[in-house]
Symmetry: C2
Subunit: 190 residues, 2 copies
């Protein structure tokens, strides 16, 4: 069964490539949910991304995913500008937040698997200079919560509890298990 | 101050590059300690790697590091062959082990900073087929504990508690803080 990634995220694409998957990318623009219970929002968005692509590609398995960052019940989206990025990083510094990624695997317009994973991320205490230097790398702007753990943002993180890849954008170990059950092998012999 | 990495590990080199550090690599072969208290072994090896290089390069800061994998007090080294790799992975499956990286920062034949970090790593339950498929990727052979979290081995890991980069081979966030205190900036403006 052919796999299609219904996401524009370069990080998700890189993760699937890193683990040896063969896939194509296809995105059909959709309205994203942004209000409500965080888990509901992420599940809803994951399937909204995948379902239309699965309808347009009968017989293919389509992967939709949504990653949300929450602290004290607030969803931290992607900062719209540097000022908001600074604010978010200041809010995250010295605290533990949660990163939840929901995954929807769809085919022929139906959700076949839906699962989510949450990782707790503890940030170091950040100085004003550190926040400033990080914002100036340009990394925060297109990322939920204003940081990317796989880039320079990794230096802001003291420790995590849970799956690392989940924070990058896809919970690869559990995704691999689901894909395997659906007949798609994730890594093969070199 | 120029930075020298006293390690042959391609993973450590990649980590320093990923975070924008400028450095050279220089290795002076030394006898490694392998018996005794795990923390003692790792500290001893980290400074044994760095000290001779620092003597040969006056005025440079030399980074030595050693990563050890332990389960129930046993140190799991690098498997010598596929059979031992299978054994180690079978031992790790379904359990939590610890990965400790010790770092020694030396100059002019003296240890200037020495610190270590431990990350707990929980493996998924592994089937015989999974172990077999992973061993056949060739990844286990040159890695302590028989897996690499940054490669296909990441799929074997259910969750971690602590620093992710520490499991790859260097605790980058704390290393960055130490380097900054010694006058070496870890990431700079793009």
């Amino acid at each position: 069964m052919d796999l299609i990634l219904a996401s524009q995220s370069p990080r998700r694409k890189a993760l699937l490539e890193q683990f040896g998957l063969t896939f194509s990318v296809q995105v059909i623009p959709t309205t994203e949910e942004s209000a409500g219970n965080p888990l509901y929002v992420a599940r809803e968005n994951a399937s909204r991304k995948a379902l239309p692509v699965s309808l347009a590609n009968p017989g293919c398995l389509v992967l939709g995913a949504d990653t949300i960052v929450t602290l004290d019940g607030h969803i931290l989206g992607k900062p719209v500008d540097e000022a908001e990025a600074r604010e978010m990083l200041d809010f995250l510094g010295g605290r533990e937040h949660e990163v939840t990624t929901c995954v929807a695997l769809c085919s022929n317009g139906q959700v076949r698997r839906e699962f989510s994973e949450t990782t707790k991320v503890q940030f170091r205490h950040l100085t004003r200079q550190e926040i400033e230097a990080y914002v100036l790398t340009g990394e925060p702007l297109d990322k939920a919560g204003g940081y990317g753990i796989q880039g320079f943002g990794g230096l802001l993180v003291k420790s995590i509890k849970g799956c690392y890849y989940n924070v990058v954008g896809l919970p690869m170990p559990s995704l691999a298990e689901h894909l395997r059950e659906l007949g798609i092998e994730v890594f093969s012999r070199k």
